[in-house]
Symmetry: C2
Subunit: 356 residues, 2 copies
């Protein structure tokens, strides 16, 4: 069966890094991978053409695809849009929600070749390998009621942080299973000393724990988790948390490596369909200059092969190619350091393809 | 007029560090400060005696005081209390809410003597001096509706993240004024690309800005703020944000210094009444061992003198005394390093008093 892969370049540096992913997909096809690649518009670039950040056409293509590769969305050009529902981010959120991509996997791992890029002392991050499992289709991102309205003579803004037991259980199982495949330690992050919704969260995690006796479950308050990530990040193996805390902690964790331009992510639904994208954003300040790091995007292809297309061997070939290129000392500007060779987006793409 | 100061030792290491603050208060009285010091129970220790984490007696004393010094609350002993309203944390939240202590000032500054304690590379944190202004009596901590209930045949947990314009304006003004007294840069942190409540937040900050033309206002999404704190914390001067984001970011920022045992905080209401407490928690694991660092608590006394009692000169005397003690190489276990002298809680108190 031919898998359909949908490539959504998006905004900012999205198109440049997506172009390198497209070349890599072609190389995979030449190496025998049976896929069909389509492209589509999402985010600000979709708004500019269709007046919508998630056109029906794109959503239909996404639904029909086995996997989606997304560059990045957003930029100052669209930040002033009064109507929040037209903002580029809503294209991304719409894809997540409509496809039910509730399970967001955000690895934060340090490439040994890039150890010096971290702002932390080397001994604190050497060998760092954390997997953050973030719930992605619920919580305060999607909770109702929400809005801005007049109450008692003045405007109030409000959002609702809400989770049902089944939503918590579903993401909990993803996290426990992930821990089973890794270091067998799971830290669930909440604010159960203040928020009722996270009291339920903690309770459900505790209820699931006996079904995964090989996994050691712990709980941590979100403020402490933010602190511990800075203090001693290697204490963590898998972390699981809700949409908002996951947004914050996964970015902090990614930045610990100092090379967020290297980190891919996956967002999966119940049938294994997935969307894959770099952890970094659309970086409008460097867009169009051929200097962005394409590696997170190319590693997103590897993650897609592993999680949605069941092609672990080819995923490993990509990861090994990236490792070789780093060993050879090639670096885009974001990860450059003394004694390495500065290359452009396209040159980095060339090098990975040559090593593939 | 004699100022009333209420000392609330609380739980865990609270009583040990509060004892050093009490000695310091006596020294201040001997140096001419006109205060009357009372003590009270709060948190788990209040629950153990009165069955309530915030007994009426304590709240009445707090209302009558010019300033409150709080050690810390909470511990595993009370974590299993089914009724959330009896938990130690509710004593703290009740004090904040009942006294209207909406303005939480959390400095994260690096003592040059302790530069090596940071987990970040020295050049990234040398001279670090951030002031986080956190809204403390609103947002998701206190929003209604909240709870756990059955809907569609399963339990859901929910909380409400809500701010009114006047609440945002009030904390905004504290932050702008703080920025005027410092480096004149204010960064407001929100998630305005997703949450309506923070769209209103951003709008109000923008509306206030022209009244403070000497302050440069910027906006940052919370995920990016968490990242930037790890990457390049010295870019920040004053940050302002809501209760929940402030909880997370202020702990991360404090930990950047590597010496959270050094950091005091203030929580102020509209009449300048304030509660002062260390940024660190009750550290139940080391309670009763005479090893906790009393400096954040003693520096909280200085912060109280400055912000609630208008005694800046005496505040400076305390801060200078702490500086001298650090210069002399005295360290409690949490900040000890090679070539320094390890001292106990009481010995550290002795040293500060001697230098005062
Ligand atoms: C762009 C934004 C809506 C998004 C989020 O908050 O989820 C991004 O920060 C992310 O983490 O993927
Ligand atoms: C103890 C807890 C309720 C409290 C909070 O979340 O505000 C603490 O973390 C703090 O930051 O003062």
């Amino acid at each position: 069966m031919t898998h359909k892969v949908l490539l959504l370049p998006g905004d900012g540096i999205g198109p440049e890094i997506a172009a390198q992913a497209a070349r890599l997909l072609t190389a995979c096809q030449e190496a025998g991978l049976d896929i069909e690649v389509e492209e589509g518009l999402v985010g600000g670039s979709a708004y500019d053409v269709h007046g919508e950040p998630l056109p029906t056409e794109t959503l239909d293509k996404a639904k029909a695809a086995s996997a989606i590769l997304l560059g990045a969305v957003g930029g100052p050009k669209w930040d002033k849009l009064e109507d929040l529902s037209k903002r580029p981010e809503k294209g991304l959120l719409g894809l997540r929600k409509n496809l039910g991509l509730f399970g967001n996997l955000r690895p934060a791992m340090l490439y040994p070749q890039l150890a010096s890029a971290s702002s932390l002392k080397p001994e604190l991050v050497a060998g760092l390998d954390i997997m953050i499992v973030r719930e992605l289709t619920g919580g305060i991102y999607f909770g109702q009621p929400r809005g801005i309205e007049v109450r008692n003579g003045e405007r109030v803004g409000f959002n609702t942080y809400i989770y049902s037991e089944s939503e918590i259980e579903r993401i909990g199982r993803v996290a426990f299973e992930m821990a089973q495949k890794r270091g067998k330690k799971l830290c669930s992050v909440d604010k159960a000393n203040v928020l009722e919704v996270t009291i339920l969260w903690r309770e459900v995690m505790d209820r699931l724990a006996p079904e995964y006796p090989d996994v050691e479950l712990s709980h941590m308050y979100v403020d402490n988790a933010a602190m511990q990530l800075v203090r001693a990040p290697k204490q963590f193996d898998v972390m699981v948390t809700g949409n908002m805390f996951g947004d914050i902690l996964s970015d902090a964790a990614a930045m610990l490596t100092g090379s967020i331009g290297m980190l891919p992510s996956a967002s999966l639904n119940e049938s294994g369909q997935g969307m894959y994208e770099p952890c970094h954003g659309s970086a409008p300040d460097i867009a169009g200059q051929n200097i962005a790091n394409p590696l997170a995007m190319m590693l997103s292809v590897a993650m897609m092969l592993r999680y949605s297309l069941n092609e672990a061997a080819m995923a490993e070939r990509i990861e090994a190619a990236v490792g070789n290129v780093l060993d050879d000392g090639l670096r885009t500007a974001d990860i450059a350091s003394e004694g390495t060779r500065l290359v452009s987006t396209v040159e980095m793409g060339d090098a990975v393809l040559a090593a593939f």
